[in-house]
Symmetry: C2
Subunit: 285 residues, 2 copies
Protein backbone atom coordinates (compact mmCIF):
# COMPACT_ATOMS: atom_id res chain seq x y z
CA UNK A 1 0.00 0.00 0.00
CA UNK A 2 1.46 3.33 -0.99
CA UNK A 3 2.40 6.17 1.26
CA UNK A 4 0.37 9.38 0.76
CA UNK A 5 2.69 12.35 0.21
CA UNK A 6 1.68 15.31 2.35
CA UNK A 7 1.73 18.38 0.09
CA UNK A 8 0.80 20.63 2.98
CA UNK A 9 3.96 19.60 4.84
CA UNK A 10 6.08 20.43 1.78
CA UNK A 11 4.26 23.76 1.49
CA UNK A 12 4.97 24.54 5.15
CA UNK A 13 8.72 24.17 4.59
CA UNK A 14 8.53 26.60 1.67
CA UNK A 15 6.32 29.02 3.62
CA UNK A 16 8.84 29.12 6.49
CA UNK A 17 11.55 30.50 4.21
CA UNK A 18 9.06 32.86 2.56
CA UNK A 19 7.99 34.24 5.96
CA UNK A 20 11.62 35.02 6.84
CA UNK A 21 12.09 36.83 3.52
CA UNK A 22 8.82 38.78 3.95
CA UNK A 23 10.01 39.95 7.38
CA UNK A 24 13.27 41.14 5.89
CA UNK A 25 11.46 43.02 3.08
CA UNK A 26 9.05 44.64 5.55
CA UNK A 27 12.08 45.80 7.56
CA UNK A 28 13.19 47.63 4.44
CA UNK A 29 9.75 49.18 4.01
CA UNK A 30 8.77 46.91 1.12
CA UNK A 31 5.39 45.13 1.12
CA UNK A 32 5.64 42.27 -1.36
CA UNK A 33 2.59 42.24 -3.62
CA UNK A 34 1.06 39.73 -6.02
CA UNK A 35 -1.54 40.80 -8.58
CA UNK A 36 -3.95 38.17 -9.87
CA UNK A 37 -5.85 38.94 -13.07
CA UNK A 38 -9.07 36.92 -13.20
CA UNK A 39 -10.70 36.98 -16.65
CA UNK A 40 -13.34 34.37 -15.80
CA UNK A 41 -16.19 33.67 -13.42
CA UNK A 42 -15.34 29.95 -13.31
CA UNK A 43 -16.08 28.75 -9.75
CA UNK A 44 -13.00 26.50 -9.63
CA UNK A 45 -10.82 29.48 -10.52
CA UNK A 46 -12.56 31.64 -7.92
CA UNK A 47 -11.88 28.97 -5.30
CA UNK A 48 -8.19 28.79 -6.25
CA UNK A 49 -7.81 32.58 -6.23
CA UNK A 50 -9.34 32.79 -2.75
CA UNK A 51 -6.91 30.14 -1.52
CA UNK A 52 -3.97 32.16 -2.91
CA UNK A 53 -5.31 35.33 -1.25
CA UNK A 54 -5.68 33.56 2.12
CA UNK A 55 -2.17 32.12 2.00
CA UNK A 56 -0.74 35.49 0.94
CA UNK A 57 -2.55 37.20 3.79
CA UNK A 58 -1.14 34.76 6.36
CA UNK A 59 2.39 35.51 5.10
CA UNK A 60 2.02 39.30 4.98
CA UNK A 61 2.01 39.42 1.19
CA UNK A 62 -0.43 41.87 -0.38
CA UNK A 63 -2.72 40.18 -2.90
CA UNK A 64 -4.56 42.31 -5.48
CA UNK A 65 -7.37 40.49 -7.25
CA UNK A 66 -8.31 42.14 -10.53
CA UNK A 67 -11.58 40.61 -11.66
CA UNK A 68 -12.31 41.50 -15.30
CA UNK A 69 -16.01 41.68 -16.06
CA UNK A 70 -15.88 41.70 -19.85
CA UNK A 71 -12.50 40.22 -20.63
CA UNK A 72 -11.12 40.39 -24.18
CA UNK A 73 -7.56 39.57 -25.28
CA UNK A 74 -6.90 43.32 -25.39
CA UNK A 75 -8.32 44.22 -21.98
CA UNK A 76 -6.47 41.32 -20.36
CA UNK A 77 -3.16 42.27 -21.99
CA UNK A 78 -3.69 45.92 -21.01
CA UNK A 79 -4.36 44.94 -17.42
CA UNK A 80 -1.28 42.69 -17.29
CA UNK A 81 0.86 45.47 -18.77
CA UNK A 82 -0.51 48.07 -16.34
CA UNK A 83 0.23 45.83 -13.35
CA UNK A 84 3.68 45.07 -14.77
CA UNK A 85 4.35 48.81 -14.83
CA UNK A 86 3.18 49.31 -11.23
CA UNK A 87 6.24 49.69 -8.97
CA UNK A 88 4.29 48.47 -5.95
CA UNK A 89 3.44 45.14 -7.62
CA UNK A 90 6.13 42.45 -7.68
CA UNK A 91 4.36 39.48 -9.21
CA UNK A 92 1.65 39.32 -11.88
CA UNK A 93 -0.31 36.21 -12.81
CA UNK A 94 -3.25 35.56 -15.10
CA UNK A 95 -5.86 32.95 -14.30
CA UNK A 96 -7.58 30.65 -16.79
CA UNK A 97 -9.87 29.76 -18.52
CA UNK A 98 -9.33 32.57 -20.99
CA UNK A 99 -11.99 34.05 -23.27
CA UNK A 100 -12.09 32.97 -26.95
CA UNK A 101 -9.19 34.30 -29.00
CA UNK A 102 -6.88 34.69 -26.02
CA UNK A 103 -3.92 32.38 -25.46
CA UNK A 104 -1.53 32.36 -22.54
CA UNK A 105 1.42 32.32 -24.99
CA UNK A 106 0.28 35.70 -26.34
CA UNK A 107 -0.92 37.20 -23.05
CA UNK A 108 2.07 35.98 -21.06
CA UNK A 109 4.27 38.23 -23.17
CA UNK A 110 2.43 41.22 -21.67
CA UNK A 111 3.80 40.38 -18.22
CA UNK A 112 7.19 41.95 -17.48
CA UNK A 113 9.81 39.18 -17.29
CA UNK A 114 10.88 40.13 -13.75
CA UNK A 115 7.28 39.90 -12.48
CA UNK A 116 6.31 36.75 -14.36
CA UNK A 117 6.12 34.69 -11.16
CA UNK A 118 4.06 31.91 -12.74
CA UNK A 119 6.35 31.54 -15.77
CA UNK A 120 3.58 32.36 -18.24
CA UNK A 121 5.56 34.15 -20.93
CA UNK A 122 7.33 32.40 -23.82
CA UNK A 123 10.55 34.11 -22.72
CA UNK A 124 10.28 32.64 -19.22
CA UNK A 125 9.69 29.21 -20.74
CA UNK A 126 12.73 29.55 -22.99
CA UNK A 127 14.96 30.68 -20.13
CA UNK A 128 13.67 27.79 -18.02
CA UNK A 129 14.46 25.31 -20.81
CA UNK A 130 17.94 26.84 -21.13
CA UNK A 131 18.52 26.32 -17.42
CA UNK A 132 18.70 30.04 -16.62
CA UNK A 133 17.95 31.00 -13.02
CA UNK A 134 16.63 34.38 -14.21
CA UNK A 135 13.11 33.25 -14.99
CA UNK A 136 10.44 31.77 -12.74
CA UNK A 137 9.07 28.33 -13.61
CA UNK A 138 5.31 27.79 -13.77
CA UNK A 139 4.52 27.10 -10.12
CA UNK A 140 2.61 23.87 -10.78
CA UNK A 141 5.44 22.36 -12.81
CA UNK A 142 7.97 23.35 -10.18
CA UNK A 143 5.75 21.91 -7.45
CA UNK A 144 6.19 18.48 -9.05
CA UNK A 145 9.96 18.72 -8.75
CA UNK A 146 9.88 20.28 -5.26
CA UNK A 147 7.75 17.42 -3.96
CA UNK A 148 10.11 14.82 -5.44
CA UNK A 149 13.10 16.64 -3.96
CA UNK A 150 11.46 16.98 -0.54
CA UNK A 151 10.57 13.27 -0.57
CA UNK A 152 14.14 12.44 -1.66
CA UNK A 153 12.95 10.46 -4.67
CA UNK A 154 16.03 9.81 -6.82
CA UNK A 155 15.76 11.29 -10.32
CA UNK A 156 19.24 11.07 -11.87
CA UNK A 157 19.11 8.59 -14.74
CA UNK A 158 15.59 7.46 -13.75
CA UNK A 159 12.62 7.19 -16.07
CA UNK A 160 9.98 9.86 -15.59
CA UNK A 161 6.82 9.77 -17.69
CA UNK A 162 4.78 12.98 -17.91
CA UNK A 163 1.22 12.52 -19.16
CA UNK A 164 0.11 15.83 -20.67
CA UNK A 165 1.91 18.39 -22.81
CA UNK A 166 0.50 21.75 -21.70
CA UNK A 167 2.64 24.87 -21.44
CA UNK A 168 1.50 25.22 -17.83
CA UNK A 169 2.51 21.79 -16.56
CA UNK A 170 3.58 19.04 -18.96
CA UNK A 171 6.21 20.83 -21.01
CA UNK A 172 7.80 22.92 -18.22
CA UNK A 173 7.80 19.89 -15.89
CA UNK A 174 9.62 17.94 -18.61
CA UNK A 175 12.25 20.71 -18.83
CA UNK A 176 12.71 20.83 -15.04
CA UNK A 177 12.97 17.04 -14.80
CA UNK A 178 15.56 16.97 -17.60
CA UNK A 179 17.53 19.51 -15.58
CA UNK A 180 17.41 17.01 -12.70
CA UNK A 181 19.02 14.50 -15.08
CA UNK A 182 15.97 12.27 -15.38
CA UNK A 183 15.15 10.52 -18.66
CA UNK A 184 11.84 12.13 -19.58
CA UNK A 185 9.01 10.84 -21.75
CA UNK A 186 6.07 13.10 -22.59
CA UNK A 187 2.88 11.40 -23.68
CA UNK A 188 -0.61 12.70 -24.42
CA UNK A 189 -4.03 11.96 -25.84
CA UNK A 190 -2.58 10.75 -29.14
CA UNK A 191 -0.01 8.37 -27.60
CA UNK A 192 -0.49 4.72 -28.51
CA UNK A 193 -0.75 2.26 -25.62
CA UNK A 194 -0.60 4.78 -22.78
CA UNK A 195 -0.65 2.14 -20.01
CA UNK A 196 2.50 0.38 -21.21
CA UNK A 197 4.38 3.67 -21.67
CA UNK A 198 3.36 4.78 -18.19
CA UNK A 199 4.55 1.48 -16.75
CA UNK A 200 8.11 2.38 -17.87
CA UNK A 201 8.07 5.14 -15.26
CA UNK A 202 9.94 5.19 -11.98
CA UNK A 203 8.04 8.45 -11.47
CA UNK A 204 4.70 9.04 -13.18
CA UNK A 205 3.35 12.59 -13.45
CA UNK A 206 -0.31 12.90 -14.44
CA UNK A 207 -1.23 16.35 -15.77
CA UNK A 208 -4.10 15.97 -18.18
CA UNK A 209 -7.28 17.04 -16.41
CA UNK A 210 -9.26 13.82 -16.75
CA UNK A 211 -10.56 12.19 -13.56
CA UNK A 212 -9.56 8.56 -13.19
CA UNK A 213 -7.35 8.55 -16.30
CA UNK A 214 -4.52 6.78 -14.48
CA UNK A 215 -5.43 3.36 -13.10
CA UNK A 216 -3.49 0.42 -11.69
CA UNK A 217 -2.58 -0.75 -15.21
CA UNK A 218 -0.58 2.48 -15.74
CA UNK A 219 1.67 2.04 -12.72
CA UNK A 220 4.75 -0.12 -12.36
CA UNK A 221 4.79 -1.69 -8.90
CA UNK A 222 6.76 0.61 -6.61
CA UNK A 223 6.56 3.68 -8.83
CA UNK A 224 5.99 7.17 -7.40
CA UNK A 225 2.86 8.87 -8.74
CA UNK A 226 2.39 12.65 -8.77
CA UNK A 227 -1.17 13.71 -9.52
CA UNK A 228 -1.37 17.23 -10.94
CA UNK A 229 -5.01 16.97 -11.98
CA UNK A 230 -7.57 19.23 -10.30
CA UNK A 231 -10.95 18.24 -11.62
CA UNK A 232 -14.10 19.64 -9.99
CA UNK A 233 -16.65 17.12 -8.75
CA UNK A 234 -20.43 17.68 -8.85
CA UNK A 235 -20.47 18.14 -5.06
CA UNK A 236 -17.99 21.02 -5.20
CA UNK A 237 -14.90 18.97 -4.36
CA UNK A 238 -11.76 18.18 -6.32
CA UNK A 239 -10.38 14.94 -7.76
CA UNK A 240 -7.13 14.34 -9.58
CA UNK A 241 -6.30 12.41 -12.76
CA UNK A 242 -5.34 9.34 -10.75
CA UNK A 243 -7.79 6.71 -9.52
CA UNK A 244 -6.36 6.79 -6.00
CA UNK A 245 -8.11 3.64 -4.75
CA UNK A 246 -6.84 1.60 -7.72
CA UNK A 247 -3.30 3.00 -7.76
CA UNK A 248 -2.59 3.05 -4.01
CA UNK A 249 -1.94 -0.72 -3.78
CA UNK A 250 0.59 -0.54 -6.66
CA UNK A 251 2.52 2.71 -6.21
CA UNK A 252 5.12 3.21 -3.48
CA UNK A 253 4.04 6.81 -2.92
CA UNK A 254 1.26 9.01 -4.26
CA UNK A 255 0.18 12.64 -3.95
CA UNK A 256 -3.48 13.03 -2.98
CA UNK A 257 -5.92 15.51 -4.50
CA UNK A 258 -6.60 17.79 -2.72
CA UNK A 259 -3.59 18.18 -0.42
CA UNK A 260 -0.80 17.18 -2.79
CA UNK A 261 0.51 19.36 -5.61
CA UNK A 262 -1.99 22.20 -4.96
CA UNK A 263 -0.65 23.58 -1.66
CA UNK A 264 2.93 23.38 -2.98
CA UNK A 265 1.93 25.31 -6.10
CA UNK A 266 0.45 28.11 -4.03
CA UNK A 267 3.50 28.16 -1.76
CA UNK A 268 5.83 28.48 -4.77
CA UNK A 269 3.76 31.25 -6.32
CA UNK A 270 4.12 33.28 -3.13
CA UNK A 271 7.77 32.33 -2.80
CA UNK A 272 8.40 33.60 -6.36
CA UNK A 273 6.59 36.85 -5.53
CA UNK A 274 8.86 37.45 -2.57
CA UNK A 275 11.98 36.59 -4.59
CA UNK A 276 10.79 39.03 -7.29
CA UNK A 277 10.28 41.73 -4.65
CA UNK A 278 13.76 41.12 -3.23
CA UNK A 279 15.32 41.25 -6.70
CA UNK A 280 13.47 44.49 -7.48
CA UNK A 281 14.85 45.98 -4.24
CA UNK A 282 18.37 45.16 -5.42
CA UNK A 283 21.19 43.50 -3.49
CA UNK A 284 21.25 44.12 0.29
CA UNK A 285 23.17 47.27 1.21
CA UNK B 1 19.63 -3.33 -45.12
CA UNK B 2 18.41 0.18 -44.51
CA UNK B 3 17.68 2.80 -47.09
CA UNK B 4 19.91 5.91 -46.94
CA UNK B 5 17.79 9.05 -46.77
CA UNK B 6 18.99 11.67 -49.26
CA UNK B 7 19.16 14.97 -47.36
CA UNK B 8 20.23 16.81 -50.51
CA UNK B 9 17.00 15.77 -52.22
CA UNK B 10 14.94 17.11 -49.29
CA UNK B 11 16.99 20.32 -49.39
CA UNK B 12 16.33 20.71 -53.14
CA UNK B 13 12.56 20.66 -52.55
CA UNK B 14 12.92 23.40 -49.93
CA UNK B 15 15.29 25.42 -52.16
CA UNK B 16 12.77 25.34 -55.02
CA UNK B 17 10.17 27.15 -52.93
CA UNK B 18 12.81 29.52 -51.56
CA UNK B 19 13.95 30.42 -55.09
CA UNK B 20 10.38 31.33 -56.07
CA UNK B 21 10.04 33.53 -53.00
CA UNK B 22 13.41 35.21 -53.63
CA UNK B 23 12.30 36.04 -57.19
CA UNK B 24 9.13 37.60 -55.85
CA UNK B 25 11.06 39.66 -53.28
CA UNK B 26 13.56 40.85 -55.93
CA UNK B 27 10.59 41.95 -58.08
CA UNK B 28 9.61 44.18 -55.18
CA UNK B 29 13.15 45.54 -54.92
CA UNK B 30 14.00 43.58 -51.78
CA UNK B 31 17.26 41.61 -51.55
CA UNK B 32 16.84 39.08 -48.75
CA UNK B 33 19.89 39.12 -46.49
CA UNK B 34 21.25 36.82 -43.81
CA UNK B 35 23.94 38.00 -41.39
CA UNK B 36 26.18 35.40 -39.77
CA UNK B 37 28.14 36.41 -36.69
CA UNK B 38 31.22 34.22 -36.31
CA UNK B 39 32.86 34.58 -32.89
CA UNK B 40 35.33 31.72 -33.40
CA UNK B 41 38.11 30.55 -35.67
CA UNK B 42 37.03 26.92 -35.37
CA UNK B 43 37.66 25.27 -38.75
CA UNK B 44 34.43 23.21 -38.61
CA UNK B 45 32.46 26.42 -38.09
CA UNK B 46 34.32 28.14 -40.91
CA UNK B 47 33.46 25.22 -43.20
CA UNK B 48 29.78 25.41 -42.26
CA UNK B 49 29.64 29.18 -42.72
CA UNK B 50 31.19 28.87 -46.19
CA UNK B 51 28.57 26.26 -47.11
CA UNK B 52 25.77 28.62 -45.99
CA UNK B 53 27.31 31.47 -48.00
CA UNK B 54 27.56 29.31 -51.13
CA UNK B 55 23.96 28.10 -50.87
CA UNK B 56 22.76 31.68 -50.22
CA UNK B 57 24.66 32.93 -53.23
CA UNK B 58 23.10 30.31 -55.49
CA UNK B 59 19.63 31.42 -54.35
CA UNK B 60 20.24 35.15 -54.70
CA UNK B 61 20.27 35.73 -50.93
CA UNK B 62 22.87 38.19 -49.66
CA UNK B 63 25.05 36.64 -46.95
CA UNK B 64 27.06 38.95 -44.65
CA UNK B 65 29.73 37.17 -42.65
CA UNK B 66 30.80 39.12 -39.58
CA UNK B 67 33.97 37.54 -38.27
CA UNK B 68 34.77 38.80 -34.76
CA UNK B 69 38.49 38.84 -34.00
CA UNK B 70 38.35 39.32 -30.26
CA UNK B 71 34.89 38.15 -29.30
CA UNK B 72 33.53 38.82 -25.82
CA UNK B 73 29.92 38.38 -24.64
CA UNK B 74 29.51 42.16 -25.00
CA UNK B 75 30.98 42.55 -28.46
CA UNK B 76 28.94 39.60 -29.74
CA UNK B 77 25.70 40.95 -28.24
CA UNK B 78 26.46 44.42 -29.65
CA UNK B 79 27.07 42.99 -33.09
CA UNK B 80 23.84 40.93 -32.97
CA UNK B 81 21.88 44.00 -31.83
CA UNK B 82 23.40 46.20 -34.55
CA UNK B 83 22.53 43.68 -37.25
CA UNK B 84 19.03 43.32 -35.77
CA UNK B 85 18.60 47.09 -36.15
CA UNK B 86 19.78 47.09 -39.78
CA UNK B 87 16.76 47.38 -42.09
CA UNK B 88 18.60 45.67 -44.94
CA UNK B 89 19.24 42.53 -42.87
CA UNK B 90 16.37 40.05 -42.49
CA UNK B 91 17.95 37.16 -40.64
CA UNK B 92 20.65 37.14 -37.94
CA UNK B 93 22.43 34.04 -36.65
CA UNK B 94 25.32 33.48 -34.28
CA UNK B 95 27.77 30.64 -34.76
CA UNK B 96 29.33 28.53 -32.03
CA UNK B 97 31.57 27.70 -30.19
CA UNK B 98 31.22 30.83 -28.07
CA UNK B 99 33.99 32.39 -25.96
CA UNK B 100 34.04 31.76 -22.19
CA UNK B 101 31.22 33.50 -20.32
CA UNK B 102 28.93 33.66 -23.34
CA UNK B 103 25.82 31.50 -23.64
CA UNK B 104 23.42 31.29 -26.55
CA UNK B 105 20.50 31.75 -24.12
CA UNK B 106 21.86 35.17 -23.17
CA UNK B 107 23.13 36.20 -26.61
CA UNK B 108 20.05 34.95 -28.46
CA UNK B 109 18.02 37.58 -26.63
CA UNK B 110 20.06 40.25 -28.45
CA UNK B 111 18.62 39.10 -31.80
CA UNK B 112 15.32 40.79 -32.73
CA UNK B 113 12.54 38.20 -32.60
CA UNK B 114 11.49 38.80 -36.22
CA UNK B 115 15.08 38.18 -37.43
CA UNK B 116 15.86 35.18 -35.20
CA UNK B 117 15.90 32.77 -38.14
CA UNK B 118 17.77 30.06 -36.23
CA UNK B 119 15.48 30.21 -33.19
CA UNK B 120 18.31 31.13 -30.82
CA UNK B 121 16.46 33.35 -28.36
CA UNK B 122 14.58 32.09 -25.30
CA UNK B 123 11.48 33.85 -26.60
CA UNK B 124 11.64 31.97 -29.90
CA UNK B 125 12.00 28.71 -27.99
CA UNK B 126 8.99 29.52 -25.81
CA UNK B 127 6.84 30.44 -28.80
CA UNK B 128 7.93 27.23 -30.54
CA UNK B 129 6.99 25.17 -27.49
CA UNK B 130 3.61 26.94 -27.35
CA UNK B 131 2.98 26.03 -30.98
CA UNK B 132 3.06 29.62 -32.21
CA UNK B 133 3.84 30.11 -35.90
CA UNK B 134 5.41 33.49 -35.12
CA UNK B 135 8.84 32.25 -34.19
CA UNK B 136 11.40 30.34 -36.24
CA UNK B 137 12.55 26.94 -34.97
CA UNK B 138 16.24 26.18 -34.72
CA UNK B 139 16.99 25.02 -38.26
CA UNK B 140 18.70 21.78 -37.23
CA UNK B 141 15.76 20.70 -35.03
CA UNK B 142 13.30 21.55 -37.77
CA UNK B 143 15.40 19.64 -40.30
CA UNK B 144 14.75 16.46 -38.32
CA UNK B 145 10.99 16.91 -38.66
CA UNK B 146 11.16 18.05 -42.30
CA UNK B 147 13.10 14.92 -43.24
CA UNK B 148 10.58 12.67 -41.49
CA UNK B 149 7.71 14.51 -43.18
CA UNK B 150 9.34 14.32 -46.61
CA UNK B 151 9.99 10.59 -46.15
CA UNK B 152 6.39 10.13 -44.99
CA UNK B 153 7.44 8.46 -41.75
CA UNK B 154 4.33 8.27 -39.54
CA UNK B 155 4.71 10.13 -36.24
CA UNK B 156 1.23 10.33 -34.69
CA UNK B 157 1.21 8.20 -31.56
CA UNK B 158 4.64 6.72 -32.38
CA UNK B 159 7.60 6.52 -30.05
CA UNK B 160 10.41 8.94 -30.82
CA UNK B 161 13.56 8.90 -28.72
CA UNK B 162 15.82 11.96 -28.87
CA UNK B 163 19.34 11.42 -27.56
CA UNK B 164 20.68 14.80 -26.45
CA UNK B 165 19.06 17.71 -24.62
CA UNK B 166 20.68 20.81 -26.12
CA UNK B 167 18.75 24.03 -26.75
CA UNK B 168 19.91 23.88 -30.37
CA UNK B 169 18.67 20.38 -31.24
CA UNK B 170 17.43 18.02 -28.54
CA UNK B 171 14.91 20.21 -26.73
CA UNK B 172 13.46 22.06 -29.74
CA UNK B 173 13.27 18.78 -31.70
CA UNK B 174 11.32 17.28 -28.79
CA UNK B 175 8.88 20.23 -28.90
CA UNK B 176 8.41 19.94 -32.66
CA UNK B 177 7.90 16.17 -32.46
CA UNK B 178 5.31 16.59 -29.68
CA UNK B 179 3.51 19.02 -31.99
CA UNK B 180 3.45 16.18 -34.56
CA UNK B 181 1.69 14.07 -31.91
CA UNK B 182 4.60 11.70 -31.34
CA UNK B 183 5.30 10.30 -27.87
CA UNK B 184 8.73 11.79 -27.14
CA UNK B 185 11.47 10.58 -24.81
CA UNK B 186 14.55 12.72 -24.23
CA UNK B 187 17.63 10.94 -22.93
CA UNK B 188 21.18 12.09 -22.36
CA UNK B 189 24.55 11.30 -20.85
CA UNK B 190 23.02 10.58 -17.42
CA UNK B 191 20.31 8.20 -18.67
CA UNK B 192 20.56 4.66 -17.36
CA UNK B 193 20.64 1.86 -19.93
CA UNK B 194 20.64 4.04 -23.03
CA UNK B 195 20.51 1.10 -25.48
CA UNK B 196 17.26 -0.29 -24.12
CA UNK B 197 15.60 3.16 -24.04
CA UNK B 198 16.69 3.77 -27.62
CA UNK B 199 15.26 0.41 -28.68
CA UNK B 200 11.78 1.67 -27.69
CA UNK B 201 11.98 4.10 -30.60
CA UNK B 202 10.12 3.87 -33.87
CA UNK B 203 12.23 6.92 -34.75
CA UNK B 204 15.61 7.49 -33.11
CA UNK B 205 17.20 10.96 -33.24
CA UNK B 206 20.87 11.14 -32.27
CA UNK B 207 22.03 14.65 -31.36
CA UNK B 208 24.88 14.37 -28.92
CA UNK B 209 28.11 15.01 -30.78
CA UNK B 210 29.87 11.71 -30.05
CA UNK B 211 31.04 9.63 -33.02
CA UNK B 212 29.81 6.06 -32.98
CA UNK B 213 27.61 6.56 -29.88
CA UNK B 214 24.67 4.78 -31.49
CA UNK B 215 25.33 1.18 -32.47
CA UNK B 216 23.20 -1.78 -33.54
CA UNK B 217 22.23 -2.46 -29.91
CA UNK B 218 20.45 0.94 -29.77
CA UNK B 219 18.16 0.29 -32.72
CA UNK B 220 14.94 -1.68 -32.85
CA UNK B 221 14.79 -3.65 -36.11
CA UNK B 222 12.97 -1.50 -38.67
CA UNK B 223 13.37 1.80 -36.81
CA UNK B 224 14.18 5.03 -38.63
CA UNK B 225 17.42 6.67 -37.48
CA UNK B 226 18.14 10.40 -37.89
CA UNK B 227 21.76 11.30 -37.26
CA UNK B 228 22.20 14.95 -36.25
CA UNK B 229 25.83 14.57 -35.17
CA UNK B 230 28.52 16.41 -37.10
CA UNK B 231 31.84 15.38 -35.65
CA UNK B 232 35.06 16.36 -37.42
CA UNK B 233 37.44 13.55 -38.34
CA UNK B 234 41.24 13.90 -38.28
CA UNK B 235 41.32 13.88 -42.10
CA UNK B 236 39.04 16.93 -42.33
CA UNK B 237 35.83 15.00 -42.93
CA UNK B 238 32.64 14.64 -40.91
CA UNK B 239 31.03 11.70 -39.10
CA UNK B 240 27.75 11.52 -37.25
CA UNK B 241 26.80 10.05 -33.87
CA UNK B 242 25.63 6.82 -35.50
CA UNK B 243 27.90 3.92 -36.40
CA UNK B 244 26.48 3.68 -39.91
CA UNK B 245 27.99 0.30 -40.77
CA UNK B 246 26.61 -1.29 -37.60
CA UNK B 247 23.17 0.32 -37.74
CA UNK B 248 22.43 0.00 -41.47
CA UNK B 249 21.54 -3.73 -41.27
CA UNK B 250 19.05 -3.05 -38.43
CA UNK B 251 17.33 0.24 -39.29
CA UNK B 252 14.75 0.60 -42.05
CA UNK B 253 16.08 4.04 -43.02
CA UNK B 254 19.02 6.18 -41.94
CA UNK B 255 20.34 9.67 -42.66
CA UNK B 256 24.00 9.69 -43.66
CA UNK B 257 26.60 12.18 -42.42
CA UNK B 258 27.43 14.17 -44.45
CA UNK B 259 24.46 14.51 -46.81
CA UNK B 260 21.61 13.96 -44.35
CA UNK B 261 20.46 16.56 -41.81
CA UNK B 262 23.15 19.10 -42.79
CA UNK B 263 21.89 20.19 -46.22
CA UNK B 264 18.30 20.38 -44.92
CA UNK B 265 19.44 22.60 -42.03
CA UNK B 266 21.10 25.04 -44.42
CA UNK B 267 18.05 25.00 -46.69
CA UNK B 268 15.75 25.84 -43.76
CA UNK B 269 18.01 28.64 -42.53
CA UNK B 270 17.78 30.29 -45.94
CA UNK B 271 14.07 29.55 -46.17
CA UNK B 272 13.55 31.27 -42.79
CA UNK B 273 15.56 34.28 -43.99
CA UNK B 274 13.31 34.67 -47.01
CA UNK B 275 10.16 34.26 -44.91
CA UNK B 276 11.51 36.91 -42.51
CA UNK B 277 12.18 39.25 -45.44
CA UNK B 278 8.67 38.70 -46.80
CA UNK B 279 7.14 39.36 -43.37
CA UNK B 280 9.20 42.54 -42.98
CA UNK B 281 7.91 43.71 -46.37
CA UNK B 282 4.35 43.27 -45.12
CA UNK B 283 1.43 41.61 -46.86
CA UNK B 284 1.38 41.78 -50.69
CA UNK B 285 -0.35 44.93 -52.02
Amino acid sequence: MSRLIDGKAVARVIHEQTALDVASLLDDGIVPALAVVVPTTDPGTAWYVRSIARAADRLGIRCLIEQLDEPTPTTIADQLAALSADQDVHGVICQTPLPPGATLANLGGAIAAAKDVDGASPTSFGLLAAGSAEAFAPATAQAVVEILRHEQIPLVGRRVVVVGRSMVVGKPAAMLLLAENATVTVCHSRSSDLPSICREADVLVAAVGRPGLIGAEHVRPGAVVIDVGTNPTPDGGLVGDVDEAAVAPVASALTPVPGGVGPVTTALLLRHTVVAAARAAGPPA
